[in-house]
Amino acid sequence: MYFLGDSLGTALALLLNLDREVLTTVWTSLSVSFGAILAAMVVAVPLGGVIALREFPGKRLTLTLLNTLMAMPTVVVGLLIYGLLSRQGPFGEHGLLFTPAAMMLGQIVLAVPIVAHYTVAAVTGADPRILPTALTLGAGPLRAMLRIFLEVRFGLVAAVVAGFGRIIAEVGVAMMLGGNIRGYTRTMTTAIALETSKGEFAFALALGLVLMTVALLVNLFLNLLQQR
């Protein structure tokens, strides 16, 4: 008990003293994940909208694929992208491996199926009168889809928040594609894994507390949206 209590005290002291390394690690995590979720949103929201609104051959298969990709283990995503970005891989010449850009790419791949899936759910659950109303008022197909997005905006924000929750807490992609380089690609999750293995429990706990706070804020925001 003393060990846990002492570690918690040290962790809080690190946070209150704005420890430089803790701040750098938190900043790396947040900046990579924010960048990834923004990019994923640009791809996944229109993709989800098209899947929801269009009838096309293979639609069921596409939805099944999305569901499967949602549950894809992060280390598998890391492995696949590692293969693409490593020196022997097709994109090795760009030197992206072990950079924040590589981590962002992996997190985009993780987030797109989640955001797209929840977008499909939000648009499918939208009032079916929105589309004919927008069309009869003179909107083209694109404007009509944007109007549907506007009407289900809370569902779309929930989709993005759910995607962010997944990628901020993942460790596989960040470890395999970032390499856990101190001050460069070290994120909260990879730092927690490393520092715990080194016996630096208090440092890991400090980051764990920040991560928990972020997760709590994300969930509070999601609950707030669901109540609207």
Binding site: P132, A134, R143
Partner: protein, 245 residues
């Protein structure tokens, strides 16, 4: 005069089932038509085709002498000549004025003209001071009237109405009839789906009877002899003359 709509050998299918089969139908501009028939007769489906929201599965539909264009862009341009007020209208999120502004913005109208038309349309349906009201706070009858105002503000060549008096109380329905009669007298092309044949006769509309997706009779010989003049309604509906397009 070029007919407003020409339908030749129209067949429309949904889920493999024929829901509409019309050998030939011509609708003239400036007329008031009423589609009547029981539930499932095909009234709403025909209105959707006339609103160009759906393409018929087979046959030829002409609007103003033109066949339906292949591209969505051109179809959208043609569709802007027509507005459909649905049976249970959907109001977009925001205020009443936002709803009226939506279609006007799509047509690129400047703010001043948008405001002018919004005020005129809301006054026409007796909701002149409702512009800033949130749509979530409207009653069923008010929603119906805002939807009509939203359509009128666009100054369409054709106004399509799907069971427009459904959900209205007695006084609102009477005022609504007065408004429709006013629009009819201004020469607006109107097509209304209704199961209420008495209403159709009171408004003097030319009746097109549908049953199981087919036309039974068109028009009724005596349909124009029962015109209605409603005035002094408690709702102050004011079918003032529609300004030029």
């Amino acid at each position: 005069m070029t007919p407003l709509y020409e339908l030749n050998r129209i067949e429309h299918r949904r889920e493999g089932r024929t829901v509409l089969a019309i050998d030939r139908l011509e609708l003239q501009p400036g007329h008031f038509y009423a589609l009547t028939g029981a539930n499932g007769a095909g009234k709403s489906t025909l209105l959707h085709l006339l609103a160009l929201l759906e393409r018929p599965s087979g046959g030829e539909l002409r609007f103003d002498g033109q066949t339906l264009p292949g591209s969505n862009h051109h179809l959208c341009r043609l569709r802007r000549e027509i507005t459909l007020v649905h049976q249970a209208p959907f109001l977009l999120a925001g205020t009443v004025a936002d709803n009226l502004a939506f279609g006007l913005k799509l047509r690129g109208l400047p703010r001043r003209e948008r405001n002018r038309r919004t005020l005129w349309a809301l006054q026409t349906v007796g909701l002149g001071d409702f512009g800033e009201r949130r749509v979530g706070r409207l009653s069923g009858g008010e929603i119906q009237r805002v939807a009509l105002a939203r359509a009128l503000a666009l100054r369409p060549r054709v106004l399509l109405l799907d069971e427009p008096s459904t959900g209205l109380d007695e006084s609102s329905a009477a005022a609504f009839e007065g408004l429709l009669a006013g629009l009819r007298d201004q020469g607006l092309s109107l097509v209304m789906a209704s199961h209420d044949r008495a209403l159709v006769q009171r408004l003097g509309a030319e009746e097109i009877r549908l049953a199981e997706g087919r036309i039974l009779g068109h028009p009724l010989a005596d349909s124009t002899s029962h015109r209605l003049a409603v005035s002094g309604s408690s709702l102050c509906l004011n079918p003032s003359k529609m300004p030029g397009r």
